[in-house]
Amino acid sequence: MTAPQRRWGRRPTAAPADREADAPFLEVEGLTVHFPTDDGLVKSVDGLGFNLSKGRSLGIVGESGSGKSVTSMAIMGLHKAGSARISGSIKLDGEELVGAQPERVRRLRGRKMAMIFQDPLSAMHPYYTVGAQIIEAYRVHNDVPKSKARAHSIDLLGRVGIPQPASRVDDYPHQFSGGMRQRAMIAMALSCDPELLIADEPTTALDVTVQAQILDLIRDLQQERGSAVIIITHDLGVVAEVADDILVMYAGKAVENATTEQIFYDPKHPYTWGLLGSMPRLDRERAERLVPIQGTPPSLIRVPSGCSFHPRCEFADRNGDLSTTVVPELTDAGGSHLVACHLSGRERTQIWRDEVAPRLGMVEQRPGGRA
């Protein structure tokens, strides 16, 4: 698979220092993560592929259970060997992670790739001080004396915007506010200067004003360091803020993968349309109701045949029985815009223009219009 060139960028990006610009830093190909259970095989991720270059940020979007977090855990090597069956390929900086020695992956974890978790209160150990947890993260990969690690962690806390970091370093997580905790979490993730940062719902537990600050922080840090970032969220609003590219997942598969601009202004998959419809927007009339996607996410044990979205798709019947029998391939619909849908390009454009876009109030709008 050649790396699609997506150079749509709202801001300048730092060029990768030591790799060719077109060699993706993270390559995921044919990734499957299956969990055998008493009820059957849970196919959480099923044949996922995407690429991510340094200096770029990828938003992975989908409902809960779509496989976003499972994917990120698979990249981090955090699935338990006994409980998950992982196949396919995950290459980090050219190094294969699937099937690699756990010890090898561990050494990469926290150093080369780091992760920020959803709820910073439960994600930080309640019995250890914030500083201690950052120091620990630093020292596990860097053989430095404790005092040096401490200075480093105070520095990090300062950089993520914690006031008086020298004294707050000895606070416990519960003594921090929600936003501060997330900042501390980020500081911890950044302690070893990772080249890949995965943020799993980094703002979900935070209130709106803090959300914006945290997203700004992630963006700024990425800019500063030129690392690759994956933001996992169910909230398109969040990715709109940070991501260069967006991967939409449904039932363990990628259904659409394109630049943020393409996703927002020329979305091609009916599921993406549904997501956009359920997104609150400041520029939309308040009178217009949010349009939730009808139906419920599918069972990952008995995934619907054909296109797994078909039971919920209002356009599934437009291809005869193709949607219920054939699994749609992720194909380039032009401009490196990948989509997995049986609708033909023409049909899709027509539906979007005539039916969906007006419903979303997005006719004739161009980028830059959003707050």
Partner: protein, 353 residues
Amino acid sequence: MAGGSPMGPARHREPSQVIAFIIRRLLAAVLLLLVVGFVTFIIFFWVPKLAGQNSYALASQFVGKDATQATVRAIEKKYGFDKPVIVQYWRFMKNLVTGTKYDAGPVKTTCNFPCFGVSFKSQTPVWPLIKDRIPVTMSLAIGAAVIWLVSGVIAGVISAVKRGKFIDRAVMAVALAGVSAPIFFTGLVALSLFSYKWPLFPNIHYVSILDNPFLWFGNLVLPWVTLALLYGALYARLMRAGMLETLNEDYIRTARAKGLPERTVIAKHAVRAALTPILTIFGLDLGLLVGGAILTEYTFSLPGVGQFAKQAIDNNDLPEIFGVTLVAAFFVIMANLVVDILYAVIDPRVRLS
């Protein structure tokens, strides 16, 4: 297990706050002891009364077998059974604090604070009798506690980490057996195997650690192991459950995501958190045991507080029952207090109030 990291207690807790907490708790403890003492009295006096026993019949339990009526009356008066229960209770509580003197014939018996009275049977003050036995029970309880805590926690951790594997099943099977088997059974089995059949520990009898530490140790190994088997099994199960719960916590995932070796994740992050509830139970169990490990002491003939309690009840000796009940209650209350303080030290989120 904090592994030398800078993970001290919270700095935001004032010492005065801790002292106030302790004082408050001690006052509550005094109140609780008053209640415990009163309930002991109620049980001793009123329950037999409901069954139709009068103070004369009560007194007749404490005289020789061919005592005359006058003798029984004299005993009844001497022990104050003829007084209303509330008066007797008041007298006991007053003497407890102020101490008193008892008539022992030509001499007086001095009963100093804490004066639980003078044993009906031995006619000596109760507190020295109990005090004398506390080291025995302490030796038993603390030794066993170390064994069961260490073994139970290790077994629980291994079991949780190797969940579903053979070793997990094996440990849990042993634990189930350990929890199910009563001490007088395991104790007798241990005795008959390791003291009688293969005399690794022959002639088990208590020797003070001050007299001979080696004998002290050797004689306590079987009682420790027996007692620890029961509790250790319980703790293994608790620890396993706690570990399984903790291992699902987000912060464990975080620890792994940091790239910590699994050993560190388990030992430093998971065990520490899973240990906290165990510690609470541990404190209470230890407090209860110091108040008398009756079955173990009986089985191994250790002259501890538990044996004393059994004799006190066998002899229906009110001052002894009263004393041992209050002492046991005191230990439990103290253990509770220590656990609470310790809890606050371990878990920085806990505030002493």
